[in-house]
């Protein structure tokens, strides 16, 4: 017995989720298999959250072809899916004459990639735009169409809307075997022993895309994790920069950036280091020093004492050096692999590209008449009302749902109503709730709200406190009850 689908998407990061949402427009059965306890828990959650203008990519590459169309789709997506997105613009800043020459190279690249409104700016204009920049700046390349989003909220909203339109999501479902049955359909098995079958498999497995491809006998590429460390600064210094600030890049990375986030706090990073281990998410002393020494060259007032947390993302860098998109020598097995920067920006365009591949591969795609592009609103963010002193609106909200007046995370002003909504929507881990609501992301780093969030998860999802995890099985927070039945104080 196995569940039969038209398409199985393996991996639910931004790429898998964008594909799932695109396919949910059509009258087909789609399953998404995610190995982690929640979506976006792999590379996507550690993404810098930049919607790039598109001047970095080498003209002619898949990256260059999809980055500008991807960027263009975000206004509409943001409107439909209601995730935070702001077109702040990005500046590549030059500090020497050599740098200025390189700016010109990127300017021509951008022009070739059809990046709109690109501009080369002189020193005074740059300082006027970003007053905290090092005054030694000599000029900048400005892409006003670049933006910032919250990568995991984007991912959550894509998959939520896909689910509202019929896509089935399976969490904690690590694929352990793929084969074909006698009617030439794929059989996919997960570690837990669940079986699925489908005519098409889309490999959006990020870091593990090479291993998934190996299951069907393909070894055309290898994925090497490229580690990036990022450091998040206190809300207090959230006005350091208004736009995304880049240095002139080196050969292996875009360099250390100073990144405003849609949630307010500024982020600095990421490093870029090729490593062997796909599960090495450790930050390092060397990484910290590299990030801050480089970031301080651009914005001298950045200080390590403002760090509230740090994290690591592993970019799925492939041996191909470009996005690996499309059909393979195995009929029906389609890759969406090697999606490193600017993958987030390109993701909506990647989704459409994959849809077109499916059409060419003769999957019948007929639009649903009842496709609902608007995501259902899960909850109202109380923080936005409080920050803007919209107390009357808040009063109204509380009259509708009392839980909106129970503040759980006071650093980020997240209420019980928001957390309950997130848990009921399937976020059953502390990290899942954190990414969905921001509870625990603030300056106390969940020092106060952890027990209260755990109580809500326990109550709403029926999980005993000792079984509640940070990020999936094996990461239980308080695994040992002192004595049986002593759960309520």
């Amino acid at each position: 017995m196995s569940d039969k689908f038209d398409v199985i998407v393996i991996g639910c990061g931004v790429v898998g989720a964008a594909i799932a949402r695109e396919l949910s427009r059509y009258k087909i059965k789609v399953a998404v298999l995610e190995k982690e306890a929640d979506v976006s828990f792999g590379t996507s959650k550690a993404n810098s959250g930049i919607i790039h203008g598109g001047f970095h990519s080498t003209p002619g590459s898949m990256k260059a072809k999809l980055v500008v169309p991807g960027n263009r789709k975000f206004d509409r997506l943001c409107d439909e899916l209601d995730f935070p997105f702001e077109r702040r613009g990005e500046l590549m800043v030059a500090f020497s004459e050599d740098d200025v020459r390189i700016l010109h190279t990127y300017y021509s690249r951008g022009k070739e990639n059809k990046v709109p409104y690109l501009e080369l700016l002189g020193r005074d204009r740059v300082m006027e735009m970003e007053s905290e920049l090092n005054p030694d700046v000599q000029g900048a390349l400005f892409a006003p169409t670049a933006g910032i989003i919250c990568p995991y909220e984007y991912c959550f909203s894509l998959i939520a809307n896909a689910q509202e339109n019929g896509v089935e999501l399976f969490l904690n479902s690590r694929v352990s075997w793929i084969g074909k049955n006698h009617s030439d359909q794929f059989e996919v098995e997960t570690e837990k022993g669940c079986k699925f079958s489908a005519d098409f498999v889309i490999n959006a497995a990020g870091l593990f895309a090479d291993e998934i491809a190996n299951f069907v006998g393909l070894s055309t590429f290898k994925i090497t994790p490229r580690k990036g460390e990022e450091y998040l600064l206190d809300r207090r210094v959230s006005t350091l920069v208004n736009r995304v600030i880049f240095p002139v890049p080196s050969s292996s990375s875009k360099g250390m950036l100073v990144i405003p986030t849609v949630d307010g706090p500024v982020m600095v990073g990421p490093t870029a280091l090729d490593i062997d281990n796909k599960t090495d998410f450790s930050t390092t002393r060397a990484g910290l020093q590299e990030v801050f020494s480089q970031a301080q060259k651009m914005v001298p007032s950045i200080r390590t004492s403002d760090i509230i947390t740090s994290f690591v993302g592993l970019r799925p860098a492939s041996t191909v050096g470009d996005f690996i998109l499309g059909k393979t020598t195995v009929d029906g097995f389609i890759n969406a692999a090697g999606i490193e920067s600017p993958g987030l920006t390109a993701s909506p365009a990647i989704a459409e590209y994959i849809r077109d591949v499916l059409i060419k591969e003769e999957l019948r795609l007929e639009l649903k008449s009842d496709f609902e592009p608007k995501r259902k609103k899960l909850f109202t963010r109380v923080r936005h009302l409080i920050d803007n002193r919209k107390f009357d609106e808040f009063d109204k909200l509380v009259n509708e749902n009392k839980d909106y007046s129970k503040l759980i995370c006071r650093c980020e002003n997240v209420t019980e109503a928001e957390i309950v909504a997130a848990v009921r929507n399937g976020h059953h881990t502390l990290d899942g709730v954190k990414f969905a609501t921001r509870a625990g992301t603030g300056r106390c780093q969940a020092g106060f709200c952890t027990p209260r969030i755990m109580e809500i998860i326990s109550r709403e999802a029926g999980i005993p406190l000792e079984k509640i995890t940070k990020k999936g099985a094996g990461s239980e927070v308080i695994p040992y009850p002192l004595k049986k039945g002593s759960g309520d104080e």
Binding site: S282, S310, I386, S405, P451, G472, I478, L482, S486, G487
Partner: protein, 414 residues
């Protein structure tokens, strides 16, 4: 909902309770305590060990017993308390202040008041603040959070424990976890001297043979889902970890006791100016902040090591706030206090001429055979010999009458 009172106290921990008691005793009736938990007493309620109250009550009490003394007064005096109520914003209109609270039961509340007393306490420094390298597994938490999990919820975070930082909560938790059957393998302290009180080093570590590694730090956290080990290295003369001497301890839990930060985000929202050293509000001799009608006391003002001193300070603060409400708060001539040799900070930064003054201070580094002086010019107002001083031990001094002719008071060790 709207409400009018004379004084709003933000926080129902030891500071808030003592301030409320003192306001009441000084003739103020319309008092409101806003407490965000569903119980009063604050962090004391998770401190089930004893050692509280020696100065205040000449008795050794547990945290909840100590809190109860004040809670009983608050209850008997009919002081209004909003539990499960979080203050989210304050707008200062001069004579009146509007405090916005969210309450589970009452929804949004707008309280108009003459006085606001900040008594929010502090939060623990966390892993992010000190940027410990390594992975981000479960099993890494602050000592205070672990204390709450064990003492109030009845759950142990793990069985093989390393503690980074020798602050008092970390030391207390070393003993607590040991009592509950855990193996505490080490307490690691970056400084060459302990961060907590000497009595806690003796009673919580030495009595259980728990090793204390001074001048060491955690250089790496290992493990993916759950922490599996930590790397520890000594600190060399350049104050950097000496990686050559690094060693690894397996563990399933790392507790952090690396300092406390006064929680002043709300105070800053109103425009209160903070002191760079204490991270608490800059206050005058009356414990009033730079904005008239806003007072601060307890750990939100500066981190204390004994709750007894929190209560004492907060009662003084409550009395001053009562005087302010009755328009008889005097501040004739303020005399600045100047921290001198070996003094990290003095609080308050000014005292009032001709009045009694209560002065708190901390040393900047450990020292032996020193004498603490408070001088007005050449005149010695206070003098006390110390065999040993530690930054972890706050000094508390009463000057009965500050001389009116003094220009400044120098506070120093010699």
């Amino acid at each position: 909902m709207n409400k009018i009172v004379d004084a709003v106290i933000i926080g129902g921990g030891p500071a808030g309770l003592a301030a409320a008691m003192s306001l009441k005793k000084n003739g103020i009736d319309k008092i409101l305590i806003s407490e965000r938990e569903d119980y009063l007493g604050g962090i004391l309620m998770q401190c089930i060990h004893n050692g509280f109250g020696l100065h205040r009550f000449n008795e050794e009490l547990t945290g909840p017993e100590y809190a109860e003394r004040y809670m009983n007064f608050v209850e008997e005096a009919d002081i209004e308390v909003y539990k499960n109520s979080c203050t989210i914003d304050i707008i200062d209109d001069g004579d009146n202040k509007t405090v916005y609270m969210m309450s589970e039961v009452l929804g949004l509340i707008r309280v108009t008041t003459k006085v606001v007393i900040f008594a929010m306490g502090c939060r623990e420094r966390n892993r992010g603040n000190i940027a410990i390298p390594g992975s981000r597994p479960a099993g890494v938490m602050t000592a205070g959070l672990a204390q709450k999990m064990v003492n109030r919820y009845g759950y142990m975070p793990g069985k093989e424990v390393v503690i980074l930082g020798s602050g008092d909560i970390g030391l207390i938790m070393a003993r607590r976890m040991t009592w509950e059957g855990a193996k505490v393998k080490a307490v690691v302290e970056v400084q060459p001297y302990p961060g907590g009180l000497n009595r806690n080093i003796v009673q919580c570590l030495n009595d259980f043979n728990i090793p204390l590694y001074l001048s060491h730090t955690v250089t790496n956290i290992n493990g993916n889902n759950r922490i599996t080990s930590v790397d520890i290295a000594p600190i060399n003369e350049f104050r950097e970890p000496d990686i050559k001497e690094q060693f690894t301890l397996t563990c399933d839990t790392l507790l952090l006791s690396v300092g406390l930060i006064p929680e002043n985000e709300l105070s800053q929202k109103v425009g209160v100016i903070l002191d760079n050293v204490t991270s608490g509000p800059l206050v005058d001799a009356n414990l009033m902040t730079n904005i008239p009608g806003f007072f601060a006391c307890g750990n939100v003002l500066h981190v204390h090591d004994l709750v007894d001193f929190v209560s004492e300070e907060s009662e003084t603060c409550g009395k001053n706030a009562a005087d302010y409400i009755k328009s008889c708060l005097s501040l004739d001539k303020e005399i600045p206090l100047k921290p001198g040799h070996l003094v990290r900070y003095v609080l308050p930064t000014k005292v009032e001429a001709g009045k009694k003054a209560l002065i708190s201070l901390r040393a900047i580094a450990p020292a032996e055979d020193v004498t603490l002086y408070i001088k007005a010019g050449d005149k010695v107002l206070f003098k006390k010999k110390h065999k040993k001083i530690f930054p972890s031990e706050m000094q508390r001094i009463v000057i009965d009458e500050v001389p009116s002719d003094a220009e400044t008071l120098d506070v120093l060790f010699e």
